[in-house]
């Protein structure tokens, strides 16, 4: 065998080369659906929207090149852009930490329990599978100023509940509360993170005399920091793209997109309105790219900061 192989070696390499070529061909054949999809639905549109962002286009007449005018307009002459940025930022600053704390707290409770975990986990998780559009319909009834149970409960405490989604001062807070209802996904991820912390670490800490609080701050939090980091980044990306709930509630309860008085004018609502309400495709593309850049910068900043507070075991081992 070996002698034959050595004698035929030129042809052997030849065959191996054909083999490799065939495998390469097969690989590209296999991944072609994704590759075509990536070019047609991701890369192509990304470049197209960047180009479009330098044009004015209503989809009826041909697009007109306007240079950076869209961007200049956005930053200097569109107060709704700043309002939508403000609404989105305020919402993110409050809802992301609130969501993460709630999710973490629920996960810790579930991790501490020994029996009946399945029932509680289901109760906490189930709201997160509800469509945000449907959740918005449901919550506008729960936060109904006159007949809703929340204001009813507040009345029992002698507090006059606000008009939530009809009051510009409270509409956004209604959405923050509502989003906290749907933290089931983050909770499950935290729970998996908690379960993967090696038990010996807690035992070792206990032997050293560490109480519950010290064990939490010195073992749980550092070991969980990659999970916190992941949830934080995903939550932030999601929060900046909030659309469904705000659209459903504002169009129904206040009658206008982002109402009342633009108090729930999320960035995505402003973008949607420009693109599909007013057919300003060029300007909306510019808005989309600015959003993309904001998210990118925030993610990169978080990533940069992660060296300070995220603990990766693999790094430690080096």
């Amino acid at each position: 065998m070996t002698t034959v192989a050595t004698r035929l070696s030129p042809q052997g390499t030849q065959r191996r080369r054909t083999q490799a070529r065939r495998e390469t061909l097969l690989f590209y054949l296999c991944i072609s659906p994704w590759l075509i999809g990536f070019l047609a639905f991701t890369a192509g549109p990304m470049i197209a929207s960047l180009v479009l962002s330098f044009t004015r286009w209503d989809m009826l007449s041909p697009p007109e090149w306007v240079g950076v005018k869209n961007y200049v307009h956005m930053f200097t002459a569109d107060p709704d852009f700043w309002q939508s940025l403000k609404v989105t930022a305020v919402y993110t600053v409050f809802s992301v930490p609130l969501r993460l704390l709630t999710a973490l707290f629920l996960a810790i409770l579930l991790n501490e329990a020994t029996r009946g975990v399945g029932i509680f986990r289901t109760a906490f998780y189930l709201p997160s599978i509800v469509a945000s559009a449907a959740a918005a319909v449901l919550w506008s009834w729960i936060l109904n100023p006159k007949f809703g149970p929340v204001n009813g409960a507040l009345r029992l405490l002698g507090i006059k509940g606000p008009s939530w989604f009809s009051d510009p001062r409270y509409a956004l807070w209604g959405l923050v509360i509502m989003s906290t209802w749907g933290v089931g996904g983050e909770m499950l991820i935290f729970l998996a993170g908690l379960k993967s912390i090696p038990q010996q670490l807690y035992e070792a800490a206990e032997i050293d005399g560490a109480g519950r609080w010290v064990r939490f701050t010195r073992v749980t939090l550092p070991m969980l920091s990659p999970t916190i980091f992941f949830n934080f980044v995903m939550s932030m990306i999601g929060s900046f793209q909030t659309f469904d709930s705000a659209y459903v509630i504002s169009t129904a309860r206040a009658g206008t997109i982002g109402g009342p008085m633009n108090s729930t004018l999320f960035y995505m609502l402003h973008l949607y309105r420009n693109a599909f309400g007013w057919q300003k495709m060029g300007y909306a593309s510019a808005l989309a790219w600015v959003l993309f850049m904001i998210i990118l910068v925030l993610v990169l900043l978080t990533l940069r900061s992660s060296a300070l507070w995220v603990y990766y075991e693999a790094e430690r081992k080096e």
Binding site: A20, E23, T24, F27, I31, P33, W34, L35, I36, G37, F41, T42, P45, A48, S49, L52, L109, E112, A113, F120, T122, A123, F124, L126, I129, V130, S132, A133, A134, V137, L138, W139, N144, F147, P149, G152, R155, W181, L188, I189, F190, A192, E203, I207, N231, V233, I237, Q241, D244, V248, T251, A252, L271, Y272, F276, M281, S285, A288, W289, F292
Partner: protein, 298 residues
Amino acid sequence: MADTVFPQARPVSAVRWWRGKRAGKIMHDVIVYTLLIVLSILFAFPFFWMLSSALKPEYQIFVWPPQWIPDPIMWSNFREALGNPLLPFHLFFRNTMIIEVAVLSGRLLSCTLVAYGFARLKAPGKEVLFTILLATLMLPAPVTMIPKFILFNKLGWVNTFLPLTVPAWFGEAYAIFLMRQFFMSIPRELEEAARIDGASTFQVIRYVIVPLSVPVLTVIAVLTFKDNWNDFMNPLIYLNDAKLYTLAVGLAFFNGQFDVQMNLLMAASVVVILPLVILFFIAQRAFVEGITLTGLKG
């Protein structure tokens, strides 16, 4: 081990230490379970309120203290809510299911093929392409939304299901990633045995890989079904004709009507939410695993 050493170190206080620990354990359980019960009631309450409102006659909607258990129970609310000719919920349901079937089959088929390529085959450029695939996971949808709309509009696809279903036949990064990880854990020997028997690559995928990958395929099917069921923005953008609405858009449309009757609106909400809740109880493990896997990739 450690537990046996510790009491020996302080023999005098050992019993008291143990007793204190036991009392602490009971206290701990009381606090944990009280919180769990209170919080789970709080989280489940909106569901209860929805169901209760859905079954009330209209006048009981507006009473305080609330009529917790409707009397009489108005099953007819469902018929009335779904029978409104302006809101053809049977069509919304049919439309949603058509889209679901087209998306699920397309996504499972295309992603299996792509994931197999990334998991098993060697080719120049593979690493770069895989990195690009992972990068698209983080890409916010709005940045591609407008050109996609323009493209589908040019193709004459607006106001059809095609913009919502066709892209699913071209793979999806997250599903591909999950499948690839799973395929890589399948022993190569199984595949080689099939190849010696003369199986082609596609036969290997069909008869070796797919039957062994039922768990990951279930996870992807369930999460795809959920995301698609809940999708609001895409159907909102692409479907203009009320006859083509999906359930989520139809419900929002109902909600936006002037002078909407709350009990009927809640009945419709139950109809929109219930199928997913049922699916969750059938495929609970797939849901939990799917979400957990999402987190572990980070």
